[in-house]
Symmetry: C2
Subunit: 311 residues, 2 copies
């Protein structure tokens, strides 16, 4: 057990949250992380409402520990998703990519713990004012959707910490026990780990995507699509097309056409490493094998305790 | 005293290097940092050879502790600068922005300790192969010139550490004792601090620039000029002109014209906060006052020891 404001808030053993990622985190991953003592999150962003309900029900059967659902608020069906979460009595919700004032009060009325994901000090304070129970501050190095401020984990965490009064979870670039300890030294009460769980055995991602993550080295990802919304992805052939588009001076409309609607599913779920979009964080360069969620949690905790002791 | 491979390599008390910055770090700053137990560096990038010689001579009179000179290798007069450094028996040289194979052997023949600044694992290993004594790995959040890989301190340090055998200094985003401890937890043997010393009393920067750094908040800097060479600066009126240029689809040649030759001096040395270029790191948001170099070193060391003890 590692005590912190985050373990207390969620009623968990270790202050390790598994990021709720599209095409990656279904009930299998979430329940495995929760069973291992962390907090597993179902990523609702890639699920139709009915699919989400099934995942929640299966998750409740697969673990008696706390778990949560991540809701990117820019997706459609948000109203329906909120309703399902309330009906199914999901204990914890992480909201992202939207205004935390919209659903926080309603969720909390149903005794749901609400956490909001931000990329800046300004939005951290807005989330706090909206009444959330904790904030995830996510740095520039994180995979997938990202903030326009481009503040890195190393600078964002202490700056948020200086002004925030509620518990703070660090995200972006964290995949190891050393990373967890460094984030806590910088002021975090817990960490959210995405990329390493995306490459775990229980992740719903395609095996070829997981192998690609393991092969990824320093410098192989990039924050791109800033004309639409910044996303960090692996520099594959599809990224080459984005680059060519940008060099050609074509319109944002044409970029949206190039992007299309199924790129993420294609890359991460179907394993099309060339034409698909491969979202992952910079920290992929530190991920060297595909492990079970329990082994990942255990390894992070063991390294955290060992390095702390050495100090 | 804090023992590490870096204090041993340089013969200093604390593993804190003051970054050698243009228009900021003359002999006054370098000698003050060295006298306080860190390693002060004279930034030669903004000095004519004769001016550099004078600064070295004055630095030797102002401190009996080790100090060094930073040489950005893309500047002209490099041959002359190397000659002066050898003649004046400067004990330590930090090279950056160029090929470490060019001068390392020659400098080391004169018993000079050589350190090279990199922004990627690849260049860290190249520097090691070139025979340098240590490497500075600098993350995306750092001020001024920066790498194209955009790897952040949080991910770059452990990735370099995995493969490097020689001592490693972390740079980018570090201004506090917590930052120093976090960097060491991630694998660094010491830290290089730039921005906080740029805003110190002994810094040669204009007082208005220092005040602007103190006022800077999270999200106020940006890595720009990527069409020429990436530079992190404050988003002031001049940056607005760069943005307008980029939106207009004008050529890189015209961007170079807009940039001109004196922007940095104008902003940092002459204090023109509107039309000058204001290089500083993201960590400026954590800098809240203009202090002496000794107070900065003392505060970093005190916080480092206190947080370490609390763990």
């Amino acid at each position: 057990m590692i005590h912190s404001k985050i373990t207390k808030l969620f009623g968990i053993k270790y202050p390790i949250v598994q990021g709720g990622m599209v095409w990656v985190s279904g009930y299998k991953l979430a329940a495995s992380v929760s069973n291992a003592g962390g907090l597993g999150l179902i990523g609702s962003g890639s699920m139709y409402p009915d699919v989400l309900r099934t995942h929640i029900q299966k998750c409740k059967k697969a673990t008696d520990k706390p778990f949560g659902v991540n809701i990117p608020m820019l997706y459609p069906n948000i109203e329906e998703i909120i309703q399902i979460i309330i009906e199914e009595k999901v204990p914890i919700v992480f909201t992202s990519a939207g205004n935390p004032a919209l659903y926080t009060a309603r969720l909390k009325k149903h005794n749901i713990t609400v956490v909001h994901v931000v990329s800046s000090v300004k939005f951290a304070l807005k989330a706090q004012a909206a009444g959330v129970d904790a904030v995830v501050a996510e740095g520039f190095e994180a995979g997938g959707h990202n903030g326009r401020e481009e503040s890195t984990t190393f600078t964002l965490i202490p700056m948020v910490k200086e002004q925030l009064n509620i518990p703070l979870i660090a995200a972006g670039g964290i995949a190891t026990g050393r990373g967890m300890l460094a984030a806590m030294v910088l002021g975090a009460d817990g960490v959210q780990v995405g990329s390493r769980f995306a490459a775990s055995k229980e992740s719903s991602a395609h095996i070829d995507f997981k192998r690609r993550v393991v092969e990824t080295s320093e410098g192989d990802t990039i924050l791109t699509l800033k004309e639409i919304a910044p996303v960090r992805m692996i520099k594959n052939e599809f990224y080459g097309e984005i680059e060519a588009h940008n060099a050609s001076g074509k319109s944002v409309e044409e970029l949206k056409e190039l992007l299309g609607k199924r790129r993420l599913k294609k890359g991460m779920f179907e394993g099309d490493l060339k034409d698909g979009m491969l979202e992952i964080g910079q920290v992929a360069g530190l991920i060297h094998s595909i492990e079970t969620a329990r082994d990942i949690v255990d390894a992070i905790v063991a390294e955290y305790l060992e390095v702390k002791k050495e100090l």
